[in-house]
Amino acid sequence: MALSRRTLLGLAAGVPASAALAGCGSSGPGDGGKATYWYLNGQPQEGVRAGAVDAFNKAHPKEQIKDTTFQNDAYKTKIKTAIGAGKAPTIIWGWGGGTLRTYVKAGQVEDLTPWFDEHPEVKKRLLPSSFAAATVDGKIYALPGETVQPIILYYNRKVFDQVGVKPPKSWDDIMDLVPKFKAKGIAPFSLGGQSRWTNMMWLEFLFDRIGGPEVFQAITEGEKNAWSNPDAITALTKVQELVKAGGFIKGFSSITADSNADQALLYTGRAAMMLHGAWSYGIQQARGGDFVSDGGLGYMNFPPVEGGKGDPGNTVGNPAQYLSLSSKADKDQKKIAKDFFAKGVLQDEEVKKWIDNGSVPIRLGTEKLLAAAKNADFLQFTYDVATKAQTFGQSWDQALSPTAAETLLDNIVKLFQLSVSPKQFAANLNAVTST
């Protein structure tokens, strides 16, 4: 058969077009008996997530989930765009809080309250504190999953021994330690300040310890001038005092957390302490040589502030990761997703994998597994902090709406650079959060 030029042209034009169409189709709903699920890549978490999907697909041959992975920052933009364009995956992975609220307001995610009523066993086996960030106006819009990640105050034991000081028991201790470390040429605190949310963790704790969780609660509820609360101003002032005293490593504004340079400062002993998420333990272990295995890494909950109202057992951070169900998915897809929520998420195998990775899954009754794990002490510590905290405050940038969070992060950098005063900071934020 002779190929005519027209056939060739047709092929040439048709192949890319159909490839492009196929590309569009697979990312949206409408695949029939298949549900789609998007989540973050990056090991070791990606492997655990993929493992749960594979296990579910194998156990349910008629119900298939197709997973797609994305990088953290790219995902945040991609998922918003996809939802806005009506091309959301069936299962939407997220952090709950303010972003989930925007999905709810736009009617993009299903109310899962009736489903949880039908499946009380699912709710009962998960950490109760993980549900707050999944709840909007009294209704549950997401299934909490994966791990609990409180923010922890890490310190380098070797450096503390070398200088001959003890870990801080209060804010005043912290301020006393600053000149002692500086005198030995060691930075008191490591901080990846360019990443912005790293600075935010300091405010989260200081607000809680000084004024209690009510201060930020008022902010999320949109109370007028909530940022100007005297306790909030005190907390903001304390941070600036620490900056002025040289509490943070020189050049912290140009250090990013993505490159893990802030972690390296701690395990190389150039900084004595660091406030960071529970995930930092795994990074120190993987990158710090024998730093962790030799017992060099110390950890504790953030100390109380003298005269503060907040319970020193409170914590902040990510109470869990969240899975929502797209309201645009068809009936079959919704059924698959719900089955996955009931029989696929945080099953024994997944729980074991999370623990092996040095994280604490949000499933209750894992004490024995945690105690038997390689990093038992740290896991037990994280578990205790998360379960015993009266209040588990969600990371502010996730708790607030994206609009308010962006203004917050911008202003936090200016606060740490001492280019805005606590009062100006409060005024700038009152303008966006109370509207």
Partner: protein
């Protein structure tokens, strides 16, 4: 062969010729005009990118135009534009003139100079970020105290770094343009100047530079209009920081639209960017004068 092309030309009636532009036109309308109209329409709405779009008249425009962040972002954008032009142009002219020589080593150097242009902006930004790290970067590694600055953490230093990295990336491209420009200058001009006893420096200022007038305008237009779209490099390098010291207009647009979920104001900024770009391009064209197409052999 010429008879063949003649035949073909005869077979294509003139009335068909405009239709040959159709594919380009369709692509231009589809990917430039329609989105532009869309963005213009969006700037009169309130939309968080997820929920319903509400027509809200001038709200977004008012929000953007009264925001003190706008003059700041515009200021930073123009500063980056002007300073990077001032840094790049002299270097590019000199490099271009140097590379226009015929020696072999110059061709080799030309290739080396060209390397930065082949790297992606994101890769360049990441590499510089690592090099500039105050604790683990070049300064700390080589134990040179001067290099261990808080490069990206102080407003003016960060601005300087942005200009430097932008220049590092684009100098090769503009040098290439100048190299071409210099090679176009007729040898006879230099021979005449030599007879008159003009030295190298005199030749450069009296022949090379005036003859490069239109090359300078072309290269400047590309630099100026291109600098409006600087985004990736600054985004990876500083994210507009510290604070908003390097927050150029394009970055401001992205941050408002995709990070703060304010599509209306972001669209308004996009429209402003288009207008500024158009105005600058037109202005530079004027600067080139109406005789831009005329022969340059007489010198300027």
């Amino acid at each position: 062969m010429s008879s063949l092309t003649d035949q073909r030309r005869r077979r294509t009636p003139r009335s068909i010729l405009p239709w040959l532009a159709t594919p380009a036109l369709v692509i231009y309308v589809g990917f430039a005009v329609i989105p532009l109209v869309g963005v213009f329409a969006l700037s009169f709405t309130t939309w968080d990118g997820i929920g319903a779009i509400h027509v809200s008249g001038l709200t977004s425009w008012r929000a953007v135009l009264t925001d003190p962040g706008l003059p700041h972002a515009l200021g930073v954008t123009f500063m980056v534009m002007v300073v990077s032009w001032l840094v790049q142009t002299p270097v590019c002219i000199l490099l271009g003139t140097f590379m226009a020589g015929r020696q072999r080593y110059r061709a080799l150097l030309g290739v080396v100079y060209f390397v930065p242009l082949m790297l992606s902006s994101a890769a360049i930004a990441l590499a510089y970020k690592a090099l500039l790290d105050p604790n683990f970067g070049l300064g700390a590694g080589l134990k040179i105290q001067v290099l261990s600055q808080d490069w990206l953490g102080r407003p003016w230093l960060a601005f300087g770094v942005v200009v430097f990295v932008v220049s590092w990336q684009f100098i090769p491209f503009h040098s290439l343009i100048y190299q071409g420009g210099v090679q176009q200058i007729p040898k006879s001009l230099y021979e005449a100047a030599q007879l008159d006893g003009a030295g190298r420096i005199r030749q450069f200022f009296s022949i090379t530079l005036p003859q490069l007038k239109y090359t300078i305008i072309t290269s400047s237009t590309l630099m100026v209009v291109g600098s409006l779209t600087f985004f990736d490099l600054i985004f990876v390098l500083t994210e507009g920081g510290p604070g908003d010291a390097t927050r150029v207009l394009a970055l401001d647009m992205y941050k408002r639209g995709f990070q703060a979920s304010l599509m209306g104001p972001a669209s308004a900024i996009a429209v402003i960017l288009v207008l500024v770009g158009l105005a600058l391009a037109l202005m530079l064209r004027r600067l080139g004068g109406r005789d831009a197409g005329a022969s340059q052999l007489e010198g300027a």
